[in-house]
Symmetry: C2
Subunit: 111 residues, 2 copies
DNA sequence: TAACTATATGAACATATGTTCATACGCTCA
DNA sequence: TGAGCGTATGAACATATGTTCATATAGTTA
């Protein structure tokens, strides 16, 4: 891993919204739509953050009919993967993130 | 740990120069001066990055006569500390960082 | 005191980033 | 085909960030 790559990955995590998105995707694959509702943010900004995460290689997308689903990617480079994994672990267990997961479960039950 | 704190810590690491500074300070306490020479950057920018790291609580400074020495801080909050530790570990072993350590050793021998 | 070394900081600038609004695009179904 | 839903993206904007240059501050020594 080059230093540029490390910085790129760390920057990808350096934002509240992206951290919360990653927290959700750590659990399961989700449609853009579901992420918007869970975080209470408009579709535009969620989509842009997802695009950035995708370009950084942290998530990937999959279109299914009208919806686009995003999920975490297991990075090929061992160091990069370890970095991502340790950050994801490092932030888990924080209040905000547990709250988001709760809300996601509630929304899923409703439909 | 609050989400704001997590973002703050991650942002502190999201820069090449700061990553390289932290890599050096992981090994030992250093004067601003030594960091400048090792990284080949001017004093102003190194000082500013150090100030930022200090305000984030990741490093602390100690004045000894004319010089100011910086070193890593063990964060009190368990989650924060784990996050910092795992990032520091995650980036260790990268080429650029090993090169910096080599150069530091060379500079130290010279005096 | 003055001269010197080491460090911090203000001003200015270019660039990056996060956000909103509006709109384009892609797919499905009637 | 057209209507409607879900998603992506361009334009515009305010703010944050990284950098350089010049200067201020602080300690040391002659």
């Amino acid at each position: 891993m080059r230093i540029k790559r490390a910085r790129q990955i760390l920057k990808a995590f350096s934002d509240d919204t992206r951290l919360r998105i990653i927290n959700l995707l750590e659990k399961e694959e989700l449609a853009v739509n579901e992420i918007c509702r869970t975080l209470g943010k408009n579709q535009s900004i969620i989509s842009k953050h997802l695009t950035r995460l995708r370009l950084t290689g942290i998530v990937r997308d999959r279109r299914n009919g009208i919806k686009v689903y995003y999920c975490m990617v297991r990075l090929k480079d061992r160091h990069s993967n370890r970095l991502v994994r340790s950050i994801a672990q490092g932030i888990s267990g924080m209040e905000t993130f547990r709250g988001d997961l709760k809300k996601l479960r509630r929304l899923k039950k409703k439909r």
